[in-house]
């Protein structure tokens, strides 16, 4: 099958949607499909062979933050050329409502179009105003995919219609087979004998942007003194970009040594970190539509303690595959962490439950579902073509074929 994938966000900037598209493309290529990804990228950025650059994204203020978007005649022309040259059986647009390549591709194409909605943002003012413009473009989408039941609900509320739920994929084995790093492990985990003797320490992992309050590091920092009071040797390992000094400001000076900042980590180190920690904590405060990091943590066999967000609850199988605590409740977080770290049997049980549940998110399952969607929409349909604007003469019935 010839598959075209449209990525709305800049390929140079790492992000959830970009990683998802990269993994999907590579998975499909491995299965023998021809895949081309159209993405905004700087000219200097080295791109994998399957990515076609749609030009540099322009930073513009949009929806309360600065977004890097592609628009204008030049981008539109590039989209049309890509569609024309590709001769795709199906195109898969990500985030079709963002005013970037996704929307341009929706405008320019006709035929089997699949779209994935990643965010579950409430409808913005701009989108309400643009609705009459947006609607005819969105109508062309033959199949909609939402990444979670929660994302599907918001999508149905704001745009009507329906969508199938296909979660984001993870290469489970990559995480499951990563080697643990002894210096990130607690003493209890390092000694192989699981004798069940409670130990005073434990390592807690956190991955995410430090300076992004939505990721919830402040709540974890508030909980940390209470955890250390009960279990004095506890260490917190933080991986992610941001100002490290600012992050520990709220912490009493003598405890700061127990927080280790690892900075940005590679995929491999992320997997090793998740393999090493005794407990992974996701204290996010909202704005999550999926929670890929929880799936990665479970793949690596890390017990998960997460905020009780709709999206997280669903990823954790309704709370069966990991533990939940009320959002932003540092006391509850501390109590749960202390209880779990002191209960090796429960931790082992969570590892087991998580590893079993996470198979559902493996690319082998998720990729097959996405291919099913492609095959459902391409059945009996013609290939994707550029949507030729009907000229004035044709509209008035004057053109001759």
């Amino acid at each position: 099958m010839r598959i075209g994938i449209v990525c709305p966000y800049s390929w140079d900037v790492p992000g959830g949607v970009q990683f998802h598209i990269r993994d999907l493309a590579e998975h499909l290529i491995k299965l023998g499909h021809e895949v081309s990804v159209l993405a905004p990228a700087d000219d200097e950025t080295p791109l994998p062979p399957y990515v076609v650059s749609a030009g540099r994204a322009v930073p513009v203020p949009y929806n309360g933050s600065v977004a890097r978007l592609n628009f204008g005649f030049l981008s539109a022309a590039r989209v049309r050329r890509w569609l024309h040259d590709g001769g795709f059986d199906v195109i898969h647009i990500h985030e079709p409502t963002s005013p970037s390549l996704g929307l341009l591709a929706c405008w320019a194409a006709q035929g089997p179009i699949v779209a994935t909605f990643h965010t579950s943002n409430p409808r913005s003012r701009a989108m309400i105003a643009a609705y009459p413009i947006l609607q005819p473009a969105l109508e062309k989408i033959r199949a909609r995919i939402a990444v979670s039941e929660y994302a599907r609900r918001t999508l149905v509320e704001h745009l009507g219609g329906d969508a199938v739920v296909i979660p984001n994929g993870v290469d489970v084995d990559f995480f499951a087979t990563a080697e643990a790093e002894p210096k990130w492990q607690s003493e209890g985990a390092r000694s192989t004998a699981l004798d069940g003797v409670p130990r005073p320490g434990g390592t807690i992992g956190f991955i995410g942007r430090i300076d992004e309050p939505r990721k919830g590091l402040p709540a974890l920092m508030r909980a940390l003194p209470k955890i250390i009071a009960e279990r004095p040797d506890t260490r917190l390992l933080v991986a992610g970009k941001g100002d490290e000094k600012e992050a520990v400001e709220a912490l009493p000076e003598h405890l700061r040594g127990q927080v280790e900042f690892l900075g940005m980590v590679s995929d491999r180190d992320k997997a090793r970190l998740l393999r090493s920690v005794d407990l992974y904590v996701a204290p996010n405060t909202g704005g999550e539509s999926f929670g890929i990091i929880l799936v990665e943590a479970m793949s690596a066999g890390a017990p998960v303690l997460a905020s009780d967000l709709d999206a997280f609850r669903q990823v954790l199988d309704g709370g069966a595959a990991g533990e939940l605590f009320p959002v932003e409740d540092a006391d509850a977080l501390a109590a749960a962490a202390v209880r779990l770290l002191g209960d090796p049997e429960r931790l082992a049980e969570l590892r087991e439950l998580g590893s079993r549940h996470v198979r559902r998110f493996d690319w082998s399952t998720v990729g097959a579902d996405i291919l099913s969607v492609y095959e459902t929409v391409t059945e009996g349909a013609t290939a994707v073509a550029t949507d030729e604007r009907v000229g004035l003469r044709a509209r008035l019935g004057l053109a001759r074929d």
Binding site: Q110, Q135, P136, E139, K140, R142, A143, R144, G160, G161, D162, A163, V164, R356, H357, R359, R360, T365, D369, S372, V373, E375, T376, V377, E379, G380, A381, V390, L392, R395, L396
Partner: protein, 182 residues
């Protein structure tokens, strides 16, 4: 004279808008047709695999008869009874595969793995195809309810699109969550 020009401009603009809307509606109708064809194909595939399974002798006689009966009814159903017949096939499949032993039994039979694969694919694609179809129906209805479309009869003689409502819940053992278990 200026009034005349303005009227002419307005008439042309309205004409273009109407023509554009008619084109949009036409595309939506084509989308419904394609989605409906895909849904039909998936339903037929599902009924065929179910019927094959029922006549294979792998399942116990009672289950075989139940499955055969509903698969046959689903394939033969007239348009008005189609939704009910297909829902009954979904229920029959769920009943037959409620216990995990049934899946194991089919897997153990020669060619069983293939059959389970086909059935898994069919029962999971039916809900997909149905959602895509009903989504297309909703989009077309939204445009057809528009005043301009009704006044100028832009929909022509195309029948008012109807959603396909049925119970398409697959047996637990064949869902992505259930399949991860074994």
């Amino acid at each position: 004279m200026t009034t005349f020009i303005w009227v002419a401009v307005a008439v042309v603009a309205i004409g273009l808008y109407l023509s554009w809307t008619a084109g949009r509606l036409d595309r939506l109708h084509a989308r419904i047709d394609a989605a409906r064809a895909a849904l039909d194909a998936q339903l037929l595939r599902r009924a065929s695999v179910a019927q094959e399974l029922a006549t294979s002798g792998v399942l116990d006689p009672a289950a075989s008869i139940v499955l055969y009966q509903s698969a046959h009814a689903a394939r033969q159903a007239e348009d008005e009874h189609r939704e009910v017949a297909e829902s009954e096939l979904s229920q029959a499949l769920r009943a037959v595969f409620a216990e995990p032993d049934a899946v194991e039994a089919v897997l153990a039979a020669p060619g069983g793995e293939e059959t389970v694969g086909e059935l898994t694919q069919a029962v999971r694609r039916v809900p997909m195809a149905r959602r895509f179809h009903n989504d297309a129906v909703r989009a077309a209805r939204a445009v057809r309810r528009h005043r301009v479309v009704r006044w100028f009869r832009l929909a022509g003689h195309a029948p008012f699109p109807l959603a396909f409502e049925m119970d398409d819940e697959p047996p637990m053992a064949f869902t992505a969550d259930g399949a991860a278990g074994h």
